[in-house]
């Protein structure tokens, strides 16, 4: 399956990579839309995680395509960073919850120009 990648990358010819890419793009978009719509801060953080996974999936797809291990190494690092961010996000959310007794992001909008 080691297709010669001509310089011009044609999606049509290699089905599996296209599917993987489509899924990762889908994941990314879902994460983005979820981040914009959902009010709850934890859900919003999860959506950012989703976007991270979308990127990771794309990375794996390309690694597979290129038969190059560094893509997967990158994914591992993405996961670790996502974990770090999760810890930080939850710490922050707990801090906010203790302040305003609510998880909704709209509670925090008194800065900014009215």
């Amino acid at each position: 399956m080691n297709q010669e990648l001509s310089s011009g990358f044609t999606i049509a010819s290699s089905a599996p990579i296209a599917v993987a890419l489509a899924i990762s793009a889908l994941l990314f978009v879902i994460g983005l839309v979820g981040f914009l719509c959902r009010r709850n801060m934890i859900i919003m953080f999860l959506c950012t995680e989703l976007m991270f996974q979308g990127a990771a999936l794309a990375m794996i797809a390309f690694a597979r395509l290129r038969m190059d291990v560094s893509g997967q190494v990158f994914v591992i690092f993405i996961l670790t960073v996502a974990a770090a961010e999760a810890a930080l996000a939850l710490g922050l959310v707990v801090l906010l919850y203790r302040k305003r007794e609510t998880l909704s992001a709209d509670a925090w909008s008194d800065l900014g120009e009215s």
């Binding site: 990314f28 994460g31 990158f74 993405i78």
Partner: protein, 560 residues
């Protein structure tokens, strides 16, 4: 022991110092002894100064050669710049982190409780973030770049949250965190696409792949989208147009010393990252040595990337300046002004090659000094325990705090580009670089924008000096610790004195902007697999052929 370490590791000496200092500071922060807790900022300063000293010692030419970096001399200028301004930023924060807790403990109203103390962590995160920014300069591949950027931003989210007291910090933190996370995801996706199209994470290989693509039918779309997405993601760091909306709220909400930090360190990191990525894509000024050693001029950024950067520059400048006109809060106005200055800096990015990047770094130096001066002046004052925020607090400041009033005036004058100060020389050099790349439109836009910026910077200068004192400004007192005062004076003097050594600074910026020449060996276009092997040999050979460190004469007159 140092020779034994491989050149890459030696170059990381400053980061190692900072890391060790971060750990010690985190631990010392928990000690019961008030003296140790009070000395934490000074330990941080010591570490930073040590890292400044470490750079020239370790970053010698041979190390840079053998380190096989994309921009070998980048760290030699950027790291001392970061650490230097970092020292000033630490001085700003002396006495304001954990202030209420420390006071109550000092007055004995509260027993010391290790769980509540935050100062140690704050300075640890400070050092970690600084370390992240420095790591960026040694980046060799996308992973390193990604990790360094995350290392810069994660600590800043926390610093915003724990820096001061009051719920405005939390709101700023939450906004900063979530939007930061989103932008990280964006540029991560960009990296993924870039990896996909070029097949490698190593900068040098990405560059060779992109150059060979551009030799052929131009960079393919996937790579273009990848680069654009990563640039947009990084725009968050440098508060450029699509991603700059968080800046006013976060800068206003965060405590002043943290805002000062945000205004400089992430911005420098963002710009360094963008420089690295765009160097991969290759600017017109790059030296290309083809197989038989002839230098061929590289035609520069592909049009879509250049067009988008051009749009971002114009919009950032204009929105930043126009937004600042309406503000009544000083910190919010300074936020907009830092957005505007990012617009000017993107000008340097567009020009690219050595002139643009060199002007960018020199302007970053100037920007760092003058913005820190204005924030320091604000940090050194307070009104009834809270920070200075609105202009009416500053009215007639000259009567009670003449030094701070003059510092504000000087920083405002320098920010607007008034001649004898460093800001003017930064702008001049930026315009000269823009002329090198025939960007007349941009220069005109920048000139118009700095004229518009005159409106609000003049307000920042005239209100403290000339306006009659208002009721609110009567209660303005100076912060108990005198270090912010000293930092402000240092920055003010800096803006006046630095122009006199402008020549040497520009030379340093020029050397850091050199990027290693792209070497197109005849076998380049052959199959991908074996390019990796001979690549190593040829690149190192080529490197020695064109000694990078020789101060390069100005690039031959690019085709006009």
């Amino acid at each position: 022991m140092i020779e034994a370490m491989s050149p890459q590791l030696i170059l990381l000496a400053p980061e190692m110092i900072l890391f060790v200092a971060a750990v010690t500071v985190a631990i010392l922060g928990l000690s019961k002894n008030h003296g140790i807790r009070a000395s934490l900022p000074f330990i941080t300063c010591a570490a930073l100064i040590a890292s400044i000293v470490a750079v020239p010692l370790t970053w010698t030419n041979e190390n840079a050669q053998s380190a096989n970096l994309l921009m070998p001399m980048l760290g030699r200028f950027v790291k001392p710049l970061l650490a230097g301004i970092g020292v000033l930023l630490v001085l700003l924060s002396v006495g304001s982190v954990d202030r209420k807790l420390e006071e109550s403990v000092a007055r004995g109203r509260m027993a010391f409780d290790a769980h509540r103390v935050v100062r140690g962590e704050f300075y640890a995160f400070f050092l970690l973030s600084m370390m992240g920014a420095m790591l960026l300069c040694n980046a060799q591949d996308l992973i390193w770049l990604f990790l360094a950027i995350e290392l810069v931003s994660l600590p800043t989210y926390i610093m915003v949250a724990i820096g001061g007291s009051g719920n405005r910090n939390q709101e700023a933190a939450v906004k900063y965190f979530f939007l930061g996370a989103m932008s990280t995801a964006v540029f991560l996706y960009g990296f993924a696409l870039l990896y996909g199209s070029t097949g490698s994470l190593q900068f040098l290989e990405i560059r060779n792949a992109l150059v060979s693509q551009s030799e052929g039918s131009g960079i393919d779309t996937l790579a273009t989208i990848g680069i654009i997405l990563s640039l947009l993601g990084l725009c968050f760091k440098i508060t450029a147009v699509p991603m700059q909306f968080y800046a006013p709220d976060v800068y206003e909400g965060a405590p002043t010393h943290v805002t000062a930090f945000l205004a400089f360190v992430p911005k420098t990191a963002g710009f360094t990252a963008m420089v690295l990525i765009l160097t991969c894509v290759g600017w017109s000024g790059h030296t290309l040595i083809d197989s038989d050693g002839i230098r061929i001029p590289y035609m520069g950024l592909p049009t879509p990337i250049a067009a988008i950067l051009w749009m971002i520059a114009i919009l950032t400048m204009t929105l930043g300046n126009i937004g600042a006109l309406l503000q009544t809060s000083v910190k919010r106005m300074l936020a907009y002004s830092s957005i505007a200055h990012s617009g000017y800096l993107i000008l340097g990015l567009i020009v690219g090659a050595t002139d643009g990047v060199e002007a960018l770094f020199f302007y970053l130096l100037a920007y760092g000094v003058m913005t820190t001066a204005s924030f320091a002046a604000l940090a050194a004052l307070e009104r009834r325990g809270e920070e200075i925020n609105s202009f009416s607090d500053l009215a007639g400041l000259r009567l009670r705090h003449p030094a701070m009033a003059w510092m504000l005036a000087i920083s405002a004058a320098s920010l607007v580009g008034m001649p004898p100060f460093i800001g003017f020389f930064g702008k001049i050099y930026l315009f000269i670089a823009a002329f090198e790349a025939d960007q007349f439109g941009l220069v005109l836009a920048a000139v118009l924008n700095s004229a518009i910026s005159g409106l609000y910077y003049l307000k920042l200068a005239i209100v403290p000096l000339v306006a009659p004192p208002s009721a609110r400004s009567e209660e303005v007192t100076s912060v108990p610790s005198r270090w912010p005062f000293i930092a402000a004076v240092l920055c003010g003097v800096g803006t006046i004195v630095l122009p006199s050594i402008a020549g040497t600074l520009v030379a340093a910026a020029r050397s850091s902007a050199q990027s290693s020449p792209i070497v197109l060996t005849a076998s380049e276009s052959k199959s991908k697999s074996d390019s990796k092997t001979n690549f190593k040999g040829s690149s190192s050979g080529a490197l020695s052929a064109a000694p990078v460190t020789a101060p390069q004469a100005l690039p031959t007159a690019s085709t006009h």
